[in-house]
């Protein structure tokens, strides 16, 4: 038998992976540069299926990259730029050391810069790919645009982020693609459906950040670098898809109106004025081709077979609902008091077709004054207000958010000034069967179905009933096991008791129950015959299910306890 002895770890999955250090050496980059490159190119470590094999028998924790990925990085032009930059820094240092100021000047003018366009194109070969990955970009953009313009990162980056996010918001307004909002303790979540892609982003509250020390801003800045590029191209494309001008221009009419006011200088410098006007979100954007009104894209009716007919109808219904949702605030006139978050609310109201204004001193671009008699809703976030107009509702800001999520105009009574607000629910939670549904959600669902809200007492009763229903359901879930246990108990008890002769009880054979028992028994016997692997999996699934039920029960119990406490409080007050 000839041939050399086969060496271990020279074929198979080992050859597909490379450790980080080796990759770094292969690319001849320092670790920070390597990281930057990975971030920009979207290269991430892979977890091999058989780690020990790939790790050449060692179990030391190592990160592995795909060798193909690293080879792919070898030809990246940006690596050359990194090296250029290194040289530039070295030269600059030298010039400083020799106090050759002209050389410093010249070097600074020739600072190497790179563009990420080709990387964006490479990472996202099609527009939809890019849209799919825009969540993180938006989150980062909105975060960076709230940074103070000192210290942590370049001012230009912050300004660019602000510009891009404002453009994005303007697009969402123009396309009316916002679907859901959620005020969380972290910030405000928005979800928009852009070209069929659900995009969610989180906007922090407008406070200054206390910059933590254990956050590496260089990493974040690198990400932002990529994200701003991506966002810019996406904005461009989106604006053009709506026939809007890019970079965005305000509507001519609106612009002239704004000019009439003429006191732009109070708000911002000339260079920033336009961006400020844009970020006011109060005016519509100029279009390339001015069309009077978008023609609503009607769903074409095709001759369809009966099976599809239902689907078609369902789709049409959905479409109608969507249209209605888009025009939720149409015809309403809002006025924002100065203590409410202006940008968020203005964005929201404009997204759903409402008119909105605010005090002149708050921000540029207010359309009308408080005194305007046609205002229907004034959004206030203070316990009471001195001068109230009769013909408008004074409501708390949560109403707007809840309306958007409920897709209908909710009754305003619960949101008046000084009223304890109903809980704000997350619109992202979609309850499946068996999950816990908060009673408030049920109420909103009832409203959506068009049921009139009953009086409070009835409501309470309803709630109770609902609770009961839920409990029953839970019982049903547990019925199987309970029944079995009961049966066994009965049996064992029966046996131990029947030592004495007692008067026999007539056993009523419930045929349904018998059948159920039989089935349960059958199932248990079949479970006994499962293979070890499947049994493990089955047990795991069942454990998960049981835990879910337990959690649901816990929530229900907590809610019930809370409600009872509330009721008793009410009674004592009475």
């Amino acid at each position: 038998m000839g041939g050399l002895q086969k060496k271990k770890y020279e074929r198979g999955s080992v050859t597909n992976y490379i450790t980080r250090n080796k990759a770094r050496k292969k690319l001849q980059l320092s670790l920070p540069d390597f990281r930057r490159l990975c971030i920009l190119k979207g290269i991430y470590p892979h977890e091999p299926k058989h780690k020990k094999k790939v790790n050449k028998g060692s179990t030391a924790p190592r990160t592995f990259y795909l060798l193909k990925d690293i080879r792919f990085l070898l030809h990246e032009p940006i690596v050359g730029k990194f090296r250029d930059y290194k040289v530039f820094v070295r030269k600059l240092k030298k010039a400083y050391g020799k106090t050759e100021w002209t050389a410093v000047e010249r070097l600074k003018e020739n600072k190497p810069a790179y563009k990420l366009d080709h990387i964006v194109k490479e990472r996202y070969p099609s527009f939809i790919d890019a849209l799919r990955d825009i969540d993180d970009a938006l989150c980062m953009g909105f975060l960076f645009s709230t940074f103070a313009r000192t210290g942590k990162c370049h001012v230009e980056t912050i300004q660019l982020c602000r510009r891009l996010t404002v453009e994005w918001m303007n697009y969402v307004i123009a396309s009316r693609s916002l679907r859901k909002v959620f005020i969380s303790i972290k910030g405000i979540y928005y979800q928009a459906e852009v070209m069929g892609q659900l995009t969610t982003w989180l906007v922090p509250y407008q406070f200054s950040h206390d910059h933590p020390t254990d956050v590496d801003y260089r990493v974040m800045a690198t990400f932002t670098e990529l994200y701003t590029t991506l966002l810019g191209f996406i904005n461009f494309r989106l604006y053009h898809s709506l026939n809007l001008l890019y970079p965005p221009k305000l509507d001519i009419k609106a612009e002239s109106e704004l000019k009439e006011e003429g006191d732009d200088d109070d708000y911002a410098m000339n260079s920033e004025c336009y961006l400020e006007k844009l970020s006011a979100l109060s005016t519509s954007l100029a279009r390339v081709v001015s069309t009077a009104e978008d023609e609503e894209a009607q769903l074409d009716k095709f001759p369809v077979e009966e099976e599809d007919l239902e689907k078609m109808e369902a789709r049409e219904m959905e479409q109608k609902q969507l249209e209605a949702h888009k025009k939720l605030f149409e015809g309403l006139k809002f006025f924002l008091n100065r203590e409410v978050p202006r940008e968020s609310l203005a964005f929201l109201i404009r997204c759903f077709g409402g008119e909105v204004s605010w005090d002149k001193s708050v921000c540029i671009g207010s359309a009308y004054e408080v005194t305007d008699e046609t205002i229907t809703h004034q959004i206030v976030d203070r316990p009471n207000i001195d001068k109230q107009y009769i013909n408008r509702y004074y409501i708390q800001p949560q109403w707007v958010y809840d309306c958007v999520n409920a897709k209908i105009l909710l009754p305003v009574e619960d949101y008046f000034l000084g009223v304890t607000l109903p809980p704000h629910l997350s619109p992202f939670v979609e309850e499946k069967e068996g999950d816990y549904v908060p009673p408030e959600k049920l109420k909103i669902m009832a409203l959506q179905r068009g049921e009139k809200p009953a009086h409070e007492e009835e409501e309470e009763e309803e709630e109770e009933e609902e609770d009961d229903d839920e409990e029953e359901e839970e019982e049903d879930d547990e019925v199987e096991e309970k029944n079995l246990k009961k049966l066994e108990e009965q049996r064992s008890q029966g046996k131990s008791l029947s030592v004495k002769v007692t008067a026999g009880k007539v056993k009523v054979n419930n045929p349904a129950r018998m059948e159920q028992d039989e089935k349960a028994e059958e199932k248990r016997l079949a479970i006994m015959m499962m293979k070890k692997k499947e049994k493990y999996l089955y047990d795991k699934i069942m454990f998960g299910k049981k835990r879910k039920i337990r959690e649901t029960n816990k929530l229900t119990a907590k809610r019930k306890a809370h409600d009872d406490a509330e009721k008793s409080k009410k009674k004592t007050r009475k």
Partner: protein, 699 residues
């Protein structure tokens, strides 16, 4: 004090130095004015024929021009004036040298005539100095001149000058620093040019030096060493339609690409105003605080705010975003197949137990006493109190009770239907009982079998085992034969024909563990010469001359005719407790103390065909039904599980094993549940005896 004074002196002298230097500096500034002023005095008569004017400037002081003389040389050349100011001491010609050089000489230099200037005789010591300081009112303005070595008393003007200079003012009192500027080059175009000098030649010839420099730069630019100023690059914020021509061919590159999962969407508990059930109770909060950050279910504490204006900034916002970034580029990704199965689909589809009837389902009979073991003919039970009891199954009546005088370990009915014999293992004795409960013919045939023994009795005698007839009372109870073993017997079992009987005496160290007795010839033999492990149980093959020996980990099958081992079955369990052979003879089940039941198909492999982990605790006993395709296992968890086990005559088809019934009823006492289990020979009934001292019949 004196030291201090000297220091002061030094200070003073220092200041003087600075004064002089100041004079030098300011001199150049005010030179023009001085020159003009004084020049008119001194130079006036010489002016006419001079191209070279030498002016001696004299500071006005009491000793004439002895202190300083600034020789100012004004060279007038073609209209432009170059001033050269030289300060010179005219008394001592040594020049501006450190005077220490003359430290060791009696003179300190030479005068204009070249004569030595001698140092003044200086006999002042510190005391004199001090006295001077105390007495001389001019001491403070006395300055030691190093050049001449003499002390000079400064005049009032000089002191004033020093003061002015120290204050940073001009030396000249009369100098007006704010006099209006005469603009020589004004915006008014004058009639005549300022100078009439013709332009230089070099002003209209291209400069060679410049040319050289420029050519160097050009070369550097050509070579790319330096780059000319770049146009302001504003492309950073300039965007265009990047996806104008999409081609999906690039997509093929990204086959291994795993897109990062999206950040999870927030639930109700993250709301600023969540429903009350999502808020933490005190206990939950305490738990949350105690837990490590990685163990927490929620990374934050749900909070409730009564209105939107009260919501503060989230302190960990930046952290979370940063962690997300880290996840995106540092976290290894792996394609994980999420098992999305309906748990119901995992349950194997088995034939319904209903279709596999008959099998025992309900308990119909039980009797209480101290039983350990059952064996069925009509039915026999035995107890720790040293009795063997017989019941009739049909009437469930206890027919007989036989006192055997000792704890009984095991009993077995003779499987031959023509013989009614029972083997009982009591301590180290195996008793053969003939209860004479059967009909006459059977009793007769039994008698015949036993009588046959007598004939053979005398012929042979085996060493360790002695056969003896029972006598007296024992005989009247039905005990006919006693087989005395060297050690305690744990199990007895019959051959299917009913003539042979095997007994087990588990022992680690001896090869005397198994005996095979022939009842008809009253002969015993030890088939094994070697100890191959602790024997747990033995069994005869129902048809062929095979003998199964179950040791701790394996089952050995011996061919009794050829006297060799044919197979060794690996049970894959830690400790075999019991074994049963299928009436067909091709299948064996083994129960073990580690809760498993292994089914061997002898034609298939020496490894178990199926491992059944039905029981939660040790399996004590297993049994096959003789006619029906049933087998049962009894366990310490108090249950008897009856399974359907069809064996097909077709060799290609594997046996079908379906559990059909879990029979419960025995109460667990002292961690022991069901100890023994046996099927009825003809009916689908099962008898089980438990540690709770009962025998139960399930029909």
């Amino acid at each position: 004090k004196e030291e201090e004074e000297t220091k002061e002196e030094e200070d003073l002298s220092d200041s003087e130095d600075s004064v002089f230097s100041g004079l030098e500096d300011s001199g150049s500034d005010s030179a023009d004015d001085d020159e003009e002023e004084e020049g008119s005095d001194h130079k006036g008569p010489e002016k006419d024929d001079l191209k070279f004017v030498c002016t001696i400037m004299t500071c006005s002081n009491p000793k004439g021009c002895n202190l300083f003389d600034s020789v100012q040389t004004s060279a007038v050349y073609g209209g432009s004036i170059h001033d050269v100011v030289v300060l010179q001491d005219i008394r001592n010609t040594v020049g501006n040298i450190p005077m220490e050089w003359y430290k060791d000489f009696p003179h300190i230099g030479y005068n204009l005539d070249g004569k030595k200037i001698y140092k003044p005789i200086r006999n002042k010591d510190e005391l004199d100095d001090f006295l001077d300081k105390m007495e001389d009112p001019d001491y403070w303005r006395t300055v030691h001149d190093k050049q001449t070595g003499s002390d000079i008393v400064l005049s009032d003007e000089q002191v004033a000058l020093v003061n002015r200079l120290q204050r940073g003012q001009f030396g000249d009192v009369n100098f007006n620093e704010y006099q209006p500027q005469v603009e020589f080059f004004s915006q008014d175009v004058m009639l005549h040019p300022v100078t009439n000098r013709p332009a230089d030649k070099r002003s209209f010839i291209p400069s060679l030096i410049e040319k050289e420099k420029v050519s160097k730069l050009v070369h550097a630019i050509k070579m790319g060493w330096i780059k000319p100023r770049r146009t302001e690059d504003d492309s950073r914020g300039r965007y265009y339609d990047l996806w104008a021509n999409e081609d999906s061919s690039i997509l093929a590159k990204h086959k291994m690409h795993l897109p990062a999962p999206k950040a999870p969407l927030p639930g109700h508990q993250e709301s600023y105003n969540p429903p009350p059930e999502y808020l933490f109770t005190d206990e939950e909060r305490a738990l949350w605080e105690q837990q490590d950050a990685s163990d927490r279910k929620l990374p934050f504490v749900p909070r409730k705010f009564s209105s939107l204006r009260q919501v503060p900034a989230f302190p960990r916002f930046l952290h979370e975003r940063f962690e997300r970034c880290l996840d995106l580029y540092l976290c290894p990704r792996q394609r994980k197949m999420r098992v999305n199965v309906n748990p119901e689909d995992l349950i194997p589809k088995l034939p319904k137990p209903k279709d596999l009837q008959p099998f025992p389902t309900t308990q119909s009979l039980w009797s209480g006493s101290l039983y350990q073991c059952v064996s069925i003919r009509s039915m026999a039970g035995l107890s720790d109190d040293g009795t063997v009891r017989f019941w009739e199954v049909r009437s469930s009546r206890c027919m007989r009770t036989v006192q055997v005088g000792g704890a009984v370990k095991s009993i077995a009915w003779n499987p031959n239907p023509l013989v009614c014999l029972l083997a009982v293992a009591r301590d180290s004795v195996v008793l053969i009982l003939s209860p004479s409960l059967a009909d006459r013919q059977v009793v007769l045939s039994t008698e015949r079998l036993l009588s046959g023994q007598r004939e053979a009795e005398s012929t042979e005698e085996v060493g360790p085992v002695t056969w003896s007839d029972a006598e007296g009372e024992e005989l009247s109870q039905g005990i006919t034969l006693k087989i005395q073993h060297p050690k305690a017997v744990h199990q007895v079992t019959w051959h299917a024909k009913g003539d042979y009987l095997a007994s087990v005496m588990p022992d680690h160290s001896s090869h005397l563990q198994v005996f095979i007795h022939q009842v008809s010839r009253r002969r015993s033999q030890n088939p094994f010469r070697k100890n191959k492990g602790l024997v747990q149980c033995v069994s005869f093959h129902p048809v062929r001359p095979y003998f199964f020996v179950g040791t701790q980990r394996s089952v050995r099958i011996y061919n009794l005719v050829k006297q060799e081992m044919t197979k060794k079955l690996q049970a894959n369990s830690k400790w075999i407790s019991s074994m049963a052979v299928h009436p067909g003879g091709d299948h064996v089940i083994c129960g073990s103390y580690d809760c498993r039941l292994s089914w061997f198909d002898l034609d298939l492999s020496t490894k178990p065909y199926k491992m059944l982990r039905h029981h939660k605790k040790a399996v004590r006993s297993v049994a096959y039904h003789r006619l029906y395709p049933l087998f049962a296992s009894a366990s310490d968890d108090g249950s008897v599980i009856v399974c359907h086990g069809t064996v097909y005559s077709d060799l290609l088809q594997n046996p079908l094993i379906v559990p059909v019934k879990v029979l419960r009823g025995h109460v667990i006492t002292h961690d022991l549940g069901v100890l023994d289990v046996t099927f009825h020979p003809t009916q689908p009934w099962i008898f089980s005896s438990g540690a709770d001292a009962t025998i139960r019949l399930f029909t």
